[in-house]
């Protein structure tokens, strides 16, 4: 009976978070099957370690943190080349940023990008896909999931100032990437 109750509670948690977690992971890794695998991994990890969850924190923050770690780990393993217009996120001076910046157009839109764009819904999705993963996670959590800066900092284990910088740079990159739409 108690076991059945717990199972029902687990299913309710999955029902409540499967869409936002899957959406975040899909937009992070840009591969539907992989996103499903990582989403499963996220829920399995979270539910199997539910005893270690501390109720003083939001469950959503905890599960988003696990999901983001899964995505970042995967992207690091895959050693994805990322494109940044502003250079390294750790660069402090304009010179350092310029030295570490990649040129726009360094990555041409591949046929896969086109398929993804069609599936995901357009230019904004392609532009998000070209952000470096740290920026992508921050901007998605902030403006798609509606999380507060402080919560994102806690989820991603980053200082609050860094989160703000990442989000500003991400918006800057999106603005530049979407500028052609405005000109048309």
């Amino acid at each position: 009976m108690a076991r059945a109750g717990r199972e029902a509670a687990y299913r309710e948690l999955i029902r409540r978070y499967e869409r936002p977690i899957f959406a975040l992971l899909f937009r992070m890794v840009r591969d539907r099957e992989l996103a499903e695998d990582l989403s499963q991994e996220t829920f399995i990890k979270a539910l199997n370690a539910i005893e270690s969850y501390r109720p003083e924190f939001k469950f959503s923050s905890w599960i988003f943190k696990i999901a983001n770690n899964a995505a970042i780990d995967h992207l690091r393993r895959r050693e994805l080349d990322t494109l940044s217009l502003d250079g390294s996120p750790h660069a402090e001076t304009p010179e350092a940023m310029q030295a570490t910046a990649l040129q726009i157009g360094a990555r041409q839109e591949s046929p896969l990008d086109a398929v993804e764009a069609k599936e995901l819904g357009g230019a904004i999705e392609v532009a998000i896909g070209r952000l470096r993963p740290e920026y992508r996670a921050c901007i998605l959590l902030r403006h798609v999931e509606g999380r507060a800066y402080e919560e994102i900092a806690e989820m991603l284990d980053l200082p609050l100032g860094t989160v703000k910088t990442y989000i500003h740079r991400a918006r800057n990159e999106l603005r530049q990437a979407l500028a052609h739409l405005k000109e048309e």
Binding site: Y10, E18, R19, P20, A23, L140
Partner: protein, 202 residues
């Protein structure tokens, strides 16, 4: 051309503007600076585009696939019983020990039932004595509390108040109001926070 007051908007200012909390000085600058207006409008468009991104769902059966790989723990009592049963049947020696414990437990229970049936008068006498003792102790307690209350300095005032039904009614009404106010305040304090993220509950 009218000079635009103040410096250009910073990224933090743009955040404040997006959330409708831009400082009046920055607001004045924004109103007169076409460059900042264009930047702010673009930021708002991007944020709107991000907010309008479609919700994506995992394939059907996702929850079943997850649940198939999740360990749902047994409740603590069931787990302990399972462990005891497993240990009791592990070896011949453990089985013998378990059987002995069972015999002792069942034997003592049967013995107590037999003794009770054979000594009903003794049990009734013990019960009656215990009831008397408990009654006396309760009465002593009530008397102790009453004499303690009577000796309090505020008791005379309370007695005067009780002598006037009007004042007593007013005091009771005020007490009830204070109590209800406290309950309402507690409810507000203990209210669950509202769901901030539409997607999370979708």
């Amino acid at each position: 051309m009218t000079p635009v007051p103040g410096p250009h908007l910073t990224p933090d200012d743009l955040d404040a503007w997006l959330s409708g909390a831009l400082a009046p000085a920055a607001q004045a600058h924004l109103a007169g600076c076409p460059a900042c207006q264009e930047r702010a409008d673009t930021e708002r468009e991007i944020v709107a585009m991000l907010g309008a991104l479609p919700l994506l769902s995992p394939p059907p059966g996702f929850a079943d696939r997850v649940m198939a790989r999740v360990r749902v723990p047994e409740p603590a009592a069931v787990g302990t019983l399972t462990l005891l049963r497993r240990r009791a049947f592990a070896t011949r020696r453990s089985m013998a020990i378990a059987a002995s414990v069972l015999v002792v437990l069942l034997g003592s229970m049967a013995g107590s039932v037999v003794w009770t049936l054979g000594h009903q008068d003794t049990l009734a006498a013990i019960g009656s004595w215990l009831t008397t003792q408990a009654g006396q102790a309760a009465w002593l307690g009530v008397r102790g509390v009453a004499s303690n209350v009577i000796e309090q300095p505020w008791f005379t005032g309370l007695r005067t108040l009780a002598a006037s039904p009007g004042r007593l009614g007013l005091a009771l009404a005020l007490t009830m109001l204070a109590y209800l106010g406290g309950i309402l305040a507690l409810r507000r304090l203990l209210a669950l926070p509202t769901q901030q993220v539409a997607h999370a509950s979708a």
